[in-house]
């Protein structure tokens, strides 16, 4: 029953998109650039219909959620508590990964563009391998590698409140994301017009002045949208730390879900991820806006 309703709703929504594209495209030709075009009537009707079909589904979900919360308050509170703790770990992985992978990415990008062939080849291979193999596998390798490769036991490593599981996940994520960031940075740096370097050179700026005063600030603006994309992906990717049994949010949610025989923990975890990314989107928007003073 719900399957049919959802199906209808999705089909109608997609149809409305397609119709809208077709109509808008044919209309655009007759309008001046940038003019606001009203949504045509058929699209509005299709969208409304999609909404009507989806309504029973939404109401049911909302009802079930409310019942979950009010029905057994204790379970809900303890679930929230555990998930919030898990979120702390997820957030920790996220923040540390950002702190380490952004500068590392810049180094890798510089390495890949190096004039010294062996250095360039090394970093090329680095990027190729880290982008070309599963992140989950890389995490496992960082975690188990020290023991299986070098016989180093990692079980009793502890830095402050962080055990090796947590540290290994941060190392793994940082190495992996550095590869992606490196490619973004390299693209940004190479998109800079030659004239900027030449003007700086003629004016007598040193190489490092040119890099840090002229090139990098402009590259930041150019790469921000792509970096933002990766940052948002990272928030969700932290759930992969589950394979190292780090007690981050997704690990917690899985455990709770199977203990309670309920999807509620997953839904709440999803909300956590979404709210976090919503905030990140806002921040990215603000940063982008703050750099809009030039183009």
């Amino acid at each position: 029953m719900f399957g049919t309703l959802t199906g209808c709703s999705v089909v109608l929504a997609v149809a409305s998109l397609i119709v809208s594209e077709i109509i808008m495209n044919s209309k655009k030709k007759h309008y001046p650039e940038g003019a606001k075009i009203k949504k045509p009537a058929p699209v509005v009707i299709l969208l409304a219909a999609a909404g009507v079909f989806a309504l029973p589904l939404l109401v049911t979900i909302a009802y079930k959620l409310i019942k979950l919360v009010t029905g057994d308050k204790d379970t809900f509170v303890s679930t929230m508590k555990l998930l919030a703790q898990g979120f702390g770990f997820s957030f920790g992985i996220f923040i540390f990964t950002i702190i380490f992978s952004l500068p590392l990415g810049l180094i890798v990008a510089a390495g890949k563009m190096s004039k010294i062939k062996t250095i360039a080849a090394f970093f090329k291979a680095y990027v190729s391998i880290l982008r070309g193999t599963p992140l989950m596998l890389q995490l496992l390798l960082v975690y188990f590698g020290p023991y299986y490769l070098f016989g180093i036991t990692t079980g009793n490593i502890q830095i402050g409140p962080f055990n090796y599981r947590f540290i290994a996940s941060i190392i793994g994520f940082s190495l992996n994301y550095a590869a992606y960031f490196a490619e973004i940075f390299r693209g940004g740096i190479q998109s800079m017009p030659k004239g900027q370097y030449e003007a700086a050179q003629v004016l007598g700026f040193s190489k490092s002045q040119t890099y840090f005063k002229i090139i990098l600030p402009q590259v930041v603006k150019r790469v921000l949208p792509s970096v933002g994309n990766e940052v948002i992906t990272l928030v969700k990717d932290t759930s992969l730390a589950q394979v190292l049994a780090v007690s981050e949010m997704f690990t917690q949610a899985s455990a709770l879900a199977s203990a309670q025989v309920s999807v509620m923990p997953f839904i709440v975890a999803g909300l956590f991820y979404y709210v976090m990314n919503f905030i990140i989107e806002l921040l990215l928007g603000l940063i982008e806006k703050s750099m809009n003073y030039y183009s």
Binding site: G195, Q196, A199, V202, L203, Q209, K213, Q218, Y294, S295
Partner: protein, 250 residues
């Protein structure tokens, strides 16, 4: 006194010889216009004089300092310190301005003064204000390049090149990227500089401007200087067939 001396300059890109033994001397206060068909090596000549390109053989002396010289068929460039000194003796104005888009007009002009020439912010601002007045851009000090017309941008880039009070200024087609109605302001600024006896080498396609403002015109084609002479004479009475053919197009 000569501000610029270039002797027997040779420069190739890969197998393509672009400069085939150029001799060019510019005296203090002299304005030299370089004209010629596209691909003739005019930009390359300026780029060699401004150290954006390294020559293969020949000798370049700027403001009395030897930038490079050829001994035993090998080119030798001066050391980094001397190069820094030589760089402060010339300015270059690009065809497409190459302003720093993330800097305000003021910062475009003062950045090198402060961070290369170690002037204080106050000293740099005073120099900047003077130049903006001269370029008729006083109210644009805090604007960003993207909000200026092409003509205004080019005047900012001239101010930027002038800020460090160079002995010689090079221009590579300073008005070629501008709409016709915007070239006038830029040409007027250059004309004013000529009246102040600024030493300049100007690559240009503005023939009447070259004739009126330059002391001397150099006609380049195919990597050599085909003909040179006093500006008015060369334009009105060229000796070489190639020069005649080129000028007939204007």
């Amino acid at each position: 006194m000569n501000i610029l001396e270039m002797h027997d300059i040779h420069k190739s890109y890969n197998d393509l010889e672009v400069l085939k033994g150029i001799d060019l001397t510019v005296a203090k206060g002299e304005v030299v216009a370089v004209i010629g068909p596209s691909g003739g090596g005019k930009s390359t000549l300026l780029r060699c004089a401004t150290i954006l390109e390294r020559i293969d053989s020949g000798k370049i002396v700027i403001g009395g300092d030897v930038l490079c010289d050829t001994k035993d068929e090998k080119i030798h460039y001066c050391d980094k310190k001397m190069m820094g000194e030589i760089k402060s003796k010339f300015g270059l104005v690009f065809q497409n301005f190459n302003l720093f888009p993330h800097f305000s007009v003021r910062r475009n002009i003062t950045e090198a003064l402060i961070h290369v020439h170690k002037k204080t912010k106050l000293e740099a601002d005073i120099i900047c204000d003077e130049l903006l007045l001269k370029m008729d851009l006083v109210e644009k000090a805090d604007a960003y390049p993207c909000n200026l017309s092409g003509g205004q941008q080019q005047r900012v880039s001239i101010a930027r090149a002038l800020a460090t009070s160079p002995d010689i200024l090079f221009f590579d087609e300073p008005t070629s990227a501008l709409d016709p109605e915007l070239t006038k302001g830029v040409l007027t600024v250059i004309k004013d500089l000529a009246l102040e006896e600024m030493t300049m080498v100007i690559v240009t396609h503005e023939m009447s401007f070259a004739r009126d403002v330059a002391d001397r015109i150099v006609f380049m084609d195919g990597g050599v200087i085909v003909e040179e002479g006093p500006a008015y004479e060369l334009v009105t009475n060229p000796k070489q067939e190639r020069t005649k053919a080129f000028l007939a197009g204007y």
